[in-house]
């Protein structure tokens, strides 16, 4: 087994493409440069911190450590899934409830994975953490998309939903078309991942294992097992997040309750872009 260690200059070259994209965003006023910069910086800090932490945690085998890591990951996952939507639920309780479906689905599938892989100490962080990260991560992404789509559509298609309610539809019947579209949207990334797997998208774990010198067929077997669990967890998370969101956006009298969402903020897109003076200057620089 051999792998190529990475140097800092490798990282900087890889970052150039991202920087070019940021410049494109400024040039075309796409307003995602700030969002991208923050997300990238966050990703780097998170991965570095986690790797340092994991170096220590992976050396441990106690179940207490697993539970600790689990609860931290769970809290982060729920916050991520529930905070992403721009028109989000107004109270913390609603956010946690809407986001928790995905975490539950991810955790369940991870336990199945552990039962199948059968490591020596199944609850050791070394196995639990990466599996939950892979399976739960996709489930959270699917659920965040569904919650986002439903909270948006509930506000935008209020007239349609309330017409159906006025005609005597139950809350789930009134949200039927919204729910259908949101769940479809939430599962779209999963279908893209599944249908392109190995063709022009080599899954991260497979790539990592092959780069680390493991036989591609062995690596693929692991990847297939994981993909099946990812698919199961994501689909469950998307459906559950959809129904939970509709449940939270309506009440026991089948009324639409948009008051449970935060008011629409128009300044949000602005907040994510660079300050006006800076983007003006950058644009004039680029035009030259």
């Amino acid at each position: 087994m051999s792998y190529v260690p990475l140097s800092l200059s490798d990282m900087i070259i890889a970052a150039l493409l991202v920087i070019a994209n940021g410049a494109l965003s400024v040039a075309l006023s796409l307003r995602f440069e700030w969002k991208l910069a923050i997300a990238i910086a966050r990703m780097i800090v998170q991965l570095l911190l986690v790797s340092l932490l994991l170096r220590y945690v992976f050396a441990q085998t106690g179940i207490g450590w697993s539970l600790l890591v689990l609860s931290v990951m769970g809290a982060a996952a729920i916050a991520e899934g529930a905070l992403r939507p721009e028109r989000r639920f107004a109270t913390l309780l609603l956010r946690v409830t809407s986001g928790s479906a995905a975490f539950a689905a991810g955790l369940l599938a991870t336990l199945v994975a552990l039962a199948l892989v059968q490591p020596a100490v199944w609850y050791a962080p070394r196995y639990l953490v990466p599996l939950l990260g892979l399976i739960g991560g996709t489930a959270i992404a699917a659920s965040a998309l569904v919650i986002d789509a439903i909270t948006h559509a509930a506000a935008r298609e209020r007239a349609q939903i309330e017409t159906r309610l006025a005609l005597g539809a139950t809350r789930f019947a009134a949200f039927e078309s919204v729910l259908l579209r949101a769940i479809g949207l939430g599962l779209l990334p999963l279908f893209v991942i599944l249908s392109t797997a190995g063709i022009f998208n080599v899954p991260g774990m497979l790539a990592g294992q092959v780069l680390a010198g493991i036989d591609p067929v062995e690596a693929a077997k692991y990847q297939i097992l994981l993909m099946l669990l990812i698919a199961g967890a994501s689909a469950t998370a998307a459906v559950a997040a959809g129904y939970v969101s509709v449940y939270l956006l309506t009440d026991d009298r089948d009324r639409l309750r948009l008051d449970r969402l935060t008011p629409q903020t128009k300044s949000r897109a602005k907040k994510l872009a660079l300050p006006a003076w800076l983007s003006r200057r950058l644009r004039s620089l680029l035009r030259r």
């Binding site: 007239a159 005609l167 005597g168 009440d251 009298r253 089948d254 009324r255 639409l256």
Partner: protein
């Protein structure tokens, strides 16, 4: 509390801000007109009766308080019919309840009464005239025979001939024993249809206006 089966819609201390609590009742086969300037709460009152908004107060139908049944069951009986009906399908057909015994007969009669040809049911809604869509929405609100009809400006924006057809259909519903409330500002129409009026004035209206 009134006796069950008495055919009465009773509104008890319904609180529409900033109006004082409203109490009134409307009997079977009667029509109450709700008047008031824009923003006085006409639509909100109708929505509150249909339980579409969370509002303090009670509403009884035939002596039964609405919380005795589910929200959707209540709205099968107490129908809020807005002129701002929003469709959710490409054609009108899927929005109507499926074919049952006599359902297609009833639909045909209703469409004829509103001067609509049967084929508008299956034409793309976005190719129909606004007035056609509005009459289809009106038909949809009536087709499953709710006991109480809450019309919010039912003939809004229609030309006089079509408005007259809507009015005729409402008159027929009153004669057929429905409880009808109409919100709007068409005094002439109210003169012809309504048995009582409720005036929602913007400042402070009289307390507990009574009708019927």
């Amino acid at each position: 509390m009134s006796k069950r089966g008495s055919g009465l819609l009773r509104v008890d201390a319904l609180k529409i801000d900033p109006l004082p609590p409203l109490s009134f009742s409307v009997a079977k086969g009667e029509c109450l007109a709700i008047e008031g300037p824009s923003g006085s709460g006409k639509t909100r009152l109708l929505r509150a009766i249909a339980d579409l908004d969370r509002v303090r107060g009670h509403v009884y139908l035939d002596g039964a308080e609405r919380n005795e049944m589910s929200g959707h069951a209540w709205r099968k009986l107490v129908r809020f019919a807005s002129a701002e009906f929003a469709w959710w399908s490409d054609t009108a057909r899927p929005a109507f309840p499926g074919e049952g015994t006599g359902a297609s007969d009833k639909l045909a009669r209703l469409l004829a009464a509103l001067a609509l040809e049967a084929r508008v049911m299956d034409r793309p809604l976005n190719t129909l005239a606004r007035g056609e869509r509005q009459r289809l929405a009106f038909a949809r609100a009536l087709i499953d025979d709710p006991s109480v009809l809450l019309f919010d400006q039912p003939a809004m924006g229609l030309d006089p001939q079509l408005a007259a057809l809507i009015e005729e259909t409402i008159r027929y519903q009153i004669l057929a024993g429905r409880i009808v409330l109409i919100a709007g500002n068409d005094r002439n129409q109210f003169d012809r249809l309504a048995h009582a009026r409720l005036q929602l004035a913007r400042p402070l209206p009289q307390r507990g206006a009574t009708a019927s």
